[in-house]
Amino acid sequence: MVDALHELSAVELGRRLASGALTSRALCEALIARHRTLNDKVGAFTHLDEADVLAQADASDARRKAGRGRGPLEGIPVGIKDNVAVKGQPLTCSSKMLAPLVSPYDSHVAERLRASGAILYGRLNMDEFAMGSSTENSAFRKAFNPWDLGRIPGGSSGGSAAALAAGLVPLALGSDTGGSIRQPASHCGVVGLKPTYGLISRFGLVAFASSLDQIGPMARSVEDCALLLDALASADARDMTCFGPSDRAFTPAGDARKLRIGVPKGFLGKGVAPEVAAAVNAAVEFYRSQGCAVSEVELPSADLAVPTYYVVATAEASSNLGRYDGVRYGHRSAVSGTPVEMMTASRSEGFGPEVKRRILLGTFVLSAGYADAYYVRALRARAKIRAEYLAALSGVDVLLTPTVPTPAFKVGEKAADPLQLYLEDVFTIPANLAGLPAISVPCGKSGRLPVGFHLVGAPLSESKLLAAGRLFEDAHGYAHQQAPL
């Protein structure tokens, strides 16, 4: 058969590997060849250790041959966002600050993937320290949207989304603090899920905002996404905020036609581009046509979400990034003098402008005299937002909105206006603030550019989100779509 291996779903790859029709080695060689042709154009990966990948592939094939295959992910490559620790691989977070760092330890998810037999495949490009919505803040190289190489793929998991859309890898890990999995998934026409906060261990995820960050699966279909989620979700005593599912399997479950859909009032007016509104409305109509009850819900504190997020996230980030000072690891400036001078120079040389902006903002909102007016108030606002979402989700199963108000913009178009970019996170941010699971699923195009819709569910309702996504996907042609490159 002459199927392009890069076009196959992870589920299908799993079948072929299991039947012996395909080896992991052959699969990885094909992907590496495609990487060599396309990665420079797309900028999805900042690093790919080809020898290491092939060694893992050979080990996988050997295991399978010996009857010790570890499950549905055995031998399947998973791209890893460069803020997720893999022992022996770079852990740069696309920042000059960590350019020299090779991680001496494995994250929990890396351990889980190894245990599942998956191939840990390369380091995916991102906005520096996960701060950004376009991957333009990568210190090493830009990433581009495979659907239009003059446009951004989204961020901060832009490399992950671009790699999937370009067929460079069948599965990828992203991380999501305010939308960093879902927004690039929407821009690149793939599926991205942010799990319930605490479902997937953050041990080994370089912290941006500790109470908001989650690792999540990204793939070209809902089914593939579920496959990856299942491998990642497990209890981990090394993360006190992780409760793990213990015994839950994450597959699309239940009859999605019985789901009650809530559409927040006024959300389609918030600066949403007409094509996006049209595609999302069509999705709503689709669910209605399937028998789902659709109703309008009130989320009166929606306007508070963006400021609340930016206060909380930058506050936590300013503290989390304090450890990067050139003393113990990472970039150290040649400027010495006193330790203060050395640390200041190292940080100033190592961090890009967006990171500096957020550190300054976060330092301000925590500083003496201002913490009450900003940080403490933001925590209270967060509680209010969370309460409103939980109340809304007691009457419906999922809330449906666009993922992003507009499709992917041109590279450089929004570089000068950070506030503009922040405001575009309006649909994705609340799920992080409330700790709720959320998914972006492709639902149409604006010209060539993918458009996604966004579902949020109650805590631990990933199965419902996946079921709803699967129902939509099965009736439309967006699963496994790849950009024509």
Binding site: P100, L101, V102, P104, A237, M240, S301, L304, V306, P307, T308, Y310, V311, S318, D325, G326, V327, R328, Y329, G330, H331, R332, S336, G337, T338, P339, V340, E341, M342, M343, T344, A345, R347, S348, P353, K356, R357, I359, L360, L361, T363, F364, S367, Y370, A373, Y374, V376, R377, A378, L379, R380, A381, R382, A383, K384, A387, P418, L419, Y422, L423
Partner: protein, 96 residues
């Protein structure tokens, strides 16, 4: 600009040195962002954050010593080291 936003002071607290251009640019951008935060200042909010996350003692770790990196690994990652310790510029605690 939001009252009290002193970029020099904040840069010092955060151990960042900014060029004049950066200061001007950031001050302006952050001023806009903080202006947007006014909705937060004016909102009607519940009295407390009431964080529901509380764990009991089963979440605590038992007192079993675990693996270490080893001095060799620590100094290998470090930008500068001497005799197993990480070296930094001279720290001064003043004697007056």
């Amino acid at each position: 600009m939001a009252e009290g936003f002193d970029i020099d002071h904040l840069a010092k607290l955060a151990r960042l040195s900014l060029t004049a251009e950066e200061k001007a640019l950031f001050a302006s951008q952050l001023g806009q962002i903080l202006g947007h935060f006014q909705t937060l200042a004016q909102a009607d909010l519940p009295a407390s954050a009431d964080d529901a996350r509380v764990v009991d003692e089963s979440a605590l770790r038992s007192d079993e010593p675990g693996p270490v990196l080893g001095a060799e690994a620590v100094t290998r990652i470090a930008p500068a080291s001497r005799d197993g310790q990480i070296s930094v510029p001279r720290v001064v605690d003043d004697e007056s």
